[in-house]
Symmetry: C2
Subunit: 205 residues, 2 copies
DNA sequence: ACTATTTTTGACCAGTTGGTTAAACTATTT
DNA sequence: AAATAGTTTAACCAACTGGTCAAAAATAGT
């Protein structure tokens, strides 16, 4: 049994991985329990054995996925580097995470439209607090390092420019890059620097 | 019959309005033909009488909705006002349209993930051409009015800051404004100016 | 007023979907 | 090795869903 666990992933892990794919690609309403079972290579009844219902399985996935969507800000921002390096590091890192989870942004944005409770739930359960983020910028404004503005707008601007281009990948690919995946990936790569410069240009005193 | 048409909307219009609501809120997979019929106050079979299938009805809605999502750039940009006024007008106008269609951005972003063809289709059918948009900025760069950068990034930045805050409304409301709708609406209103200033600060020479 | 055409409806259908169950299989305990 | 507990499966089910159809109702044409 020990050997099996090492070679073959545990059933629960296999289910979670399959469910994550299915839910991320198709959303709750589009996802099919049968498809999840097939993807995991198991019998459909096993899904209900491990996770009572579709709703339950979905909640598990949403929570695990939520972590990737809301950047673990604390570690990034507690380091000793300068404000601008923190900002640069954050943007680089966040775009990187998202571009490796291409379905994530659109999935979250879609699901929360009719289930905002899920968000609040996940936030509480993970102790996520946006004010850590906001306060960092507020401090730099008070120190006169960056221009004064409502921090909420600044933060939303930064997040917008990181998240939207991934959520809108099919649009951008289709309209700008003639559906060339490589060119689009290159575009995202460039943004790690461009977004930082764009923000700094705008807020630096 | 003339009188009836004036008082009561034609069946087709009623269906389209009901379907638009249902599809925008729930997406294709979450929408129910029965619910659309109820919303329109008609029998379900009528839906199939006017639009053969759910798929067909969806296509009709997607196309009509697409127009609002992709700003009618031409008219805005052909006017004689200065570049910066065009930009200001565009951002103001676009945020306004989106905030009046709160489900629109997340709907489009979700649906295109697995149906990119729909996008291409609607684009062709409506003769939408993104290069009109891109070229305007390129011209101003060549004229030395704004800083040089890859126009694609500039345009994506602007669109990001207009679209994302609407798509992410439930997140922003929940995390920043304690679910206060009015404060959130005020926030969007402010962005009409803030986004413009943020962009201009960054690109003005 | 009568007919032909279009619009609307209720009843119905076949396929799908999430979920259940009893039995088979596997591993663990004694 | 026998009993016990934990996994896995195939078969099944009730509810729902998109879609059909024949008949009824409304409208238009004569």
């Amino acid at each position: 049994m020990v050997k099996i666990k090492e070679i073959e992933k545990s059933t629960e892990i296999k289910i979670l991985e399959a469910a994550k794919q299915e839910f991320l690609e198709r959303g709750f309403d589009g996802a099919r329990m049968q498809k999840i079972a097939e993807r995991a290579g198991i019998n459909k009844a096993l899904l209900h054995y491990y996770f009572r219902s579709k709703e339950n399985l979905f909640k598990a996935i949403f929570q695990s996925v939520f972590e990737n969507f809301f950047p673990k800000v604390v570690k990034t921002f507690q380091s000793e580097i300068s404000f601008f390096d923190k900002l640069k590091f954050f943007i680089d890192n966040y775009i990187d995470v998202l571009s490796k989870n291409p379905f994530l942004p659109a999935f979250i944005l879609h699901e929360i439209q009719l289930r905002p409770e899920m968000l609040i739930n996940s936030m509480k359960e993970q102790g996520f607090n946006p004010s850590v983020f906001l306060n960092m910028f507020k401090r730099e404004m008070e120190n006169g390092v960056i221009c004064n503005m409502r921090v909420e707008h600044l933060v939303v601007n930064i997040l917008s420019m990181c998240i939207f281009p991934v959520a809108a990948a099919p649009i951008i690919k289709g309209m700008i890059f003639k559906n060339d995946d490589i060119e689009y990936q290159q575009f995202l790569e460039e943004r790690k620097i461009i977004v930082y410069e764009f923000v700094v240009n705008s807020i630096k005193k």
